[in-house]
Every structure is written in C-alpha cells, then in structure tokens.
C-alpha cells in the first residue's frame, strides 16, 4: 500500500511537465519540493533529535549565497556550487553545534535563532562579497555535458532528482540505528546515557547533516529564482519548514514529506478567494493544531496506543 502510494506519487511528479505547460504550476512544485527537503532536514534535527534549530534559515540562505558566489565570483559550475552550498553550512554546523549542543535546549534555540539573525545582518552589510540588498542577479542556466536546463520544465528535473536523492538519504539515515538512537535521546536523554550512549556525537551528526541538506536545497532554489538577495533569509522560509514539520508530526518521515507536498499546494489551491486566501490558510493551520497537537503522524500513533490500552482492560 505504502509502496503503491509512493510509486504513484513519484510517477505523478515525474510526469508533471508532460501534462502541463504552465510554468506557474511547475514553479510552485519546484518550491514545494525544495521546501519539503528543507522540512525533512529540520525534521531530522527537531523531530528526531529534539533540537529546535532556527539556524536552518541561515543554512538555507548560506547555501544560496554559497552556490551563487561559487558560480559568479569563482567561475565554478552550478554543480560545484551545490557542493559548496552543502559544505559551508556543514562546517558552520560543527562550529555552532560543538559548543551549543552541550547546553540546555532553550539555550540552543536562542543561539541558533541569533545565528540566523546575524547571517541576515552580514549578508546585508558585507557589500563587497554579497552586493548587499541588491543581491546577485543573473545566475546562469545550469548545464550538464552540453545539455542546458534552461526551461522551468528542464530545471524541474534537477529539482526532482535532488529531492529524491535527499529524501532517500534522510530516510535511510533516519530509519537506521543512528536514527533510532536519536529518537531515544529525544525521549529520555538520561536513560540513553545510562545505557552507554554519548548524546553529543549523535546530536551533532543530525545537526550537521540537516545543515548540509538544507544548504544544498537553498543552493538549488536560488538557481531556480536566478537571483540571490537578502530576502532568501526571510523568516517566511523558516516558518514554512517549521509548519510542515509540526503539522506532519515531528519525528515522522512520511508525515512530514506528505504534508510538505500538500501544504505548499494549499495556499495556491485557495486562490479562488484572493482576499481571504491567507486567512483561510491560517484558519486551517489553527484548526489542525487544535485537533492534532502532535501532528498528523502523532495523531495516528495516539489512536494506536489508545486502542492497545483499551484492549488491555
């Protein structure tokens, strides 16, 4: 059943440019896929490891600038730009993670939030490097062995390929023993320690992998926009990633991926009423949170536990 749904989903996504010529529709699917990847990365950090990281926004933006600068200032290719977009956030993840992951959870939240705000400040003011508020326009079309990805439909397949790779990696990592231990640490860190587990390396791994994946997603995203400017660090992105994780159910891979794809389509589907669009969107979020505080996946788990408890009586 799961496999069937997965196969149908992939087939539908792969066929999208064949059934529609609408660049608008392809465009929102591109954003939707990349937001879903970033949300799945945040899910590893927050949903698995229990670390509410607001640094994801900075990694997303740094990935964008890293890829753009590699191409525009260093003359590298789009592909080498993506490597930089993953590598720089990963290194920053180690630098921030090592000292802060030892602290209490709320200290971690504050440090990561500050990091994102500082990144925004640096990007706006280091004009020599980033061109400040003007940003870096005119990002070139990616090419591979002479083939250019110049149309949105062609670029869409880069995004789809990256999404499939990134999600597969996060899935394999999350379902491995390492993911199992991350979830154990989140549920009861003291118990995990008493069972011989050092929490720091696991948390750091989740944080660094989350940083790298988010950075590459940001790198791909700016090449779709063809420009990177400080709006890449708009809090809108962080809020989107977080909403997807919370509604999908923190810690549930399929919950987050499923909701990621739906949530991005939702504001577009509500376009029938331009004035009320965001109001209805907000109302749906509020109702979802009231009805399912643990997200959709958490709601299903709670029902299962209740049924088992009832069976014991």
């Amino acid at each position: 059943m799961k496999r069937l749904a997965l196969g149908a989903g992939i087939a539908a996504l792969a066929a999208l440019p064949l059934v529609t010529a609408s660049n608008y529709l392809i465009g929102i699917t591109i954003s939707g896929l990349l937001y879903t990847v970033a949300a799945a990365a945040l899910n590893l950090v927050y949903g698995y490891a229990g670390l509410l990281s607001f640094a994801q926004l900075a990694f997303w933006g740094i990935g964008g600038y890293g890829a753009a600068l590699t191409v525009m200032s260093l003359g590298g290719s789009f592909w080498s730009g993506l490597i930089v977009a993953g590598l720089v956030p990963a290194i920053l993840g180690i630098v921030i993670g090592l000292p802060t992951l030892r602290t209490k959870r709320h200290a971690f939240v504050i440090v990561t939030l500050t990091f994102s705000l500082l990144t925004d400040l640096v990007v706006r003011n280091w004009v020599d490097l980033t061109h400040g508020p003007l940003g870096i326009p005119g990002l070139p079309v990616p090419t591979l062995l002479g083939f250019d990805f110049g149309t949105p439909a062609r670029f869409y397949y880069i995004v789809l390929g990256f999404t499939a790779l990134a999600l597969a990696f996060l899935y394999v990592f999350g379902t491995s023993r390492i993911g199992h231990i991350l979830k154990a640490i989140k549920q009861n860190e003291v118990l995990a320690q008493s069972q011989g587990i050092a929490p720091l390396p696991y948390k750091l791994a989740a944080f660094v992998i989350g940083a790298a994946v988010t950075g590459i997603a940001g790198g791909v995203f700016v090449f779709y926009l063809k420009i990177v400017d400080p709006t890449i660090l708009d809090f809108y992105y962080m809020q989107t990633f977080l909403i997807v994780v919370i509604i999908g159910g923190a810690g549930s891979f399929w919950g987050v991926v499923g909701v990621g794809l739906v949530m991005v389509a939702l504001p577009e589907a509500l376009r029938f009423s331009d004035d009320l669009r965001m109001v209805i969107y907000g109302a749906i979020l509020v109702v979802a949170m009231l009805a399912m505080p643990q997200g959709i996946a958490g709601w299903f788990e709670q029902r299962r536990v209740s049924a088992l408890r009832a069976a014991l009586k």
């Binding site: 491995s176 023993r177 979830k183 009861n188 320690q193 069972q195 587990i197 050092a198 791994a205």
Partner: protein, 264 residues
C-alpha cells in the same frame, strides 16, 4: 582479590549540605547488596555519584580495580556498571523490543557506516542482539507485549522493562534504585525471583530500597545509611538487631527516643 566495586571516602555536598559525607564500602562479585536508610540519608546521591550522573567532591569509586569516578555515565555503562532509576524511565514511544535495542554495548563493534548501510556485519550483530532482547523480555514476563509501545505498560511493568534493559549489556554490576517502590505487592515476589535468577547467572546487584522485607529476603549483605554516613553494614539478620539501625529508623534504640520515625 579486589572487590567488584570499591567506594572509598566518597563525599558530595550541595551548597554546604553534606548529602554524602565520606562513605566507604565494598561489594564482592556475585553478591546482592542492599542499601537502606531513611529518606534524605544520601542513598540516591550515592548512586548518582557511583553511576557518573553526579561528580563527587572527594573520594574514589573503583570497578574491578579501575577508577571510574571521573567518567561520564555512558562510559561507566561500558565498563559494566549499569543503573536504573527511582522514577522509572522508558522510551514510551518505542515498542518493548525497540526499548532494549537502544542499549549501546552489544553494538560496540558496529560502526556508524555499518549501521547506515545495514552491512552484513551490522545485520549479523542486530540478529544476535534482537534474539537476546526477546529472551530478556520473556525472562521478565513481558513477552505478550513485545511489539506494543512502552506507554501502555503499568508502573510495575515498566520497572521490569528497565530491569530487562539493564541486563541487555551483560553488566558486572546493576544498581537498582527502588525496584519495588510503588509496585503492586503481588508482583514483588516475582521481581525478587527474577533478580535471584539473574544473580545466579553471574550479575551482581546493589539495591536501594525502603522495603526492608524485600531487602532482607534477597540480600547477602546490607549497608545502612543515615545522614550521609554509613551507619552499619553486615548480613541482614545482624542489621535487624543493630540498635543504631533501629534508632535511625524508629527512634527505639539505646539512645533517647526523641526522633520521629522517618521510614516511608
């Protein structure tokens, strides 16, 4: 021959209050040792220090001759000293089987890459470990719930799960913090029986408990704490008659009967 656990001159103070005040004792391999004392006598602080969750101010803890007093809890667990907790801890969202599969020691030879790629080596270890986990869950009598999340277990059943998890790594010494406190009395004999059988298989125990009957029936040796110091130690029968112990517990020993009973 060195003792399995050797505590000497251990001290821990919290802002001037001497919770543990220079305590020494030893535990021989293969024994079950009881640690009793009134509330606030320093028992919990003692085992937090032994297991690395608190850093002691002075003194040393040696496990099979190795000084473990400066090590982190996870390192001490790898040396073969495992503890459980008074307020029972379990991974509520995990099945009982998954609860036991968290324990690190059985996977010591598996690298992260092995675990990520599910290499043949990882799968072989995992098969072995899962088999042991199933055996242990059956051993503590929870086989009927093995795939169910730990959240559905009763308080007493969670204590049994914690015991099974502690046995996973085949430790030399298990420190149990109140294994029968708050447990349905009808289950207590069952728990004592499980501990005896585990002990017969070679695991030593240090048990902190208020239930004196439970301690007396189970332990080879009993240590009594009062006000951060060791008050007495010896076989349970002797401890029962020790006037200092009666005084600490009930205020009916040889000194003035001025103190209120503080046994919970």
């Amino acid at each position: 021959m060195t003792a399995l656990l050797e505590v000497s001159g251990l001290a821990k103070a919290f802002s001037g209050v001497h919770a543990v005040d220079g305590v020494s004792f030893a535990i021989e391999a293969g024994t079950i040792t009881g640690l009793i004392g009134p509330n606030g006598s320093g028992k919990s602080t003692m085992i937090d220090c032994i297991s690395g969750f608190l850093q002691s101010d002075a003194g040393s803890v040696r496990l099979s001759g190795t000084d473990i007093s400066a090590l982190a809890p996870q390192e001490i667990a790898h040396f073969g000293l495992v503890r459980t907790f008074q307020s029972v801890r379990a991974y509520d969202h995990f099945s009982l089987l998954d609860n036991l599969l968290v324990v690190a020691a059985p996977f010591a030879e598996v690298t992260w890459l092995d675990a990520f790629l599910r290499s043949p080596k990882y799968r072989a270890v995992r098969r072995r470990v899962e088999e042991r986990a199933r055996d242990l869950i059956a051993f503590v009598g929870l086989a009927g719930h093995i795939e169910a999340p730990a959240a559905i277990l009763s308080y007493g059943q969670k204590k049994l799960l914690a015991l099974a998890a502690a046995l996973m790594s085949r430790p030399k010494l298990i420190v149990l913090d109140e294994p029968v406190a708050g447990v349905n009395p009808s289950r207590i004999n069952g728990i004592a029986d499980i501990l005896r059988r585990a002990n017969a298989d070679g695991t030593s125990f240090l048990i902190v408990e208020h239930n004196v009957d439970f301690i007396s029936s189970l332990c080879d040796h009993v240590i009594v704490f009062d006000q951060g110091r060791k008050l007495a130690e010896g076989p349970p029968q002797e401890i029962h008659r020790d006037p200092r112990v009666l005084d600490a517990y009930l205020g009916i020993g040889e000194s003035t009967p001025a103190r209120l009973p503080v046994m919970s």
